[in-house]
């Protein structure tokens, strides 16, 4: 029996996210920082 999953029209398996979404992720990555204090507390920070 054929077990192929067919996606609905317009939702092809080769879809890619928008360029702006990728840019947002890369921007977040550049501004995101974590720091650990001596007593093992971890801080998350977003740089301007």
């Amino acid at each position: 029996m054929d077990k192929t999953t067919t996606l609905k029209d317009g939702y092809a398996t080769n879809a890619r996210p928008d360029a702006q979404t990728i840019q947002n992720i890369l921007n977040f990555s550049r501004s995101y920082e974590t720091q650990k204090t001596s007593n093992n507390f971890q801080f998350e920070m977003i740089k301007n």
Binding site: R16, Q20, I25, E44
Partner: protein, 194 residues
């Protein structure tokens, strides 16, 4: 450095060690699989972009905090994060159902604006004028009970006390007032509804 030739594990290691470019290559390598998966479930491009972004925000946070320990299985791990975020998305959607109007269904057919239109306000004023004229045609004792009940808001007990009759008489007068009012409406061809 040839990022393209690197394995996921190598790219992850470089990224954790501060090479931002490694993340670009990880995204480029897997964006199609991850995004297609999200889009196939959510079936809305804008929302799928949001979930894709959230997936990588979570990936970045986990890698930077040093909590990633699935070496060599980056794609499966990323798809699992995407899958959980898709479920979160549907849970949120279930909590706050959104209804979009279409050809078969329009929410504004159910949710009505109760504010009277100018036309309805004019009809209402006319109805009140007609009713006032008809009420004045009622016998004196019926008119009195009707006024005390509907305009003064008195109970039948209070009406009985005030007019010096029994409660049953007050109730009877009210009943006849309404019967006569209906007759007067028919006789005068007055409609008291919109």
């Amino acid at each position: 450095m040839d990022y393209k030739a690197m394995t996921d594990a190598e790219l992850v290691k470089l990224y954790i060690n501060g090479k931002e470019q490694a993340l670009s290559f990880l995204i480029a390598k897997h964006e199609q699989r991850i995004f297609s998966y999200i889009l196939s479930k959510i079936q809305n491009r804008d929302l799928a972009n949001d979930v894709f972004q959230d997936t990588f925000v979570k990936i970045i946070k986990t890698l930077r905090k040093g909590n990633y320990n699935e070496e060599g299985k980056f794609l499966q791990w990323s798809l699992r994060i995407a899958h959980n975020l898709v479920i979160d998305h549907f849970r949120r959607q279930k909590r706050i159902p959104t209804i979009a109007p279409n050809d078969e269904y329009d929410i504004f057919k159910i949710l009505k604006d109760e504010t009277p239109t100018a036309e309805n306000e004019m009809i209402q004023v006319q109805i009140e004028k007609d009713l006032h004229k008809l009420i004045l045609l009622l016998p004196e004792e019926q008119l009195e009970v009707l006024k005390l009940r509907h305009f003064s808001g008195l109970s039948f007990k209070d009406i009985a006390e005030q007019t010096g009759v029994s409660i049953n008489t007050a109730l009877g007068r009210m009943r006849y007032a309404l019967i006569n009012l209906r007759k007067l409406m028919v006789d005068n061809k007055v409609t008291l509804s919109m």
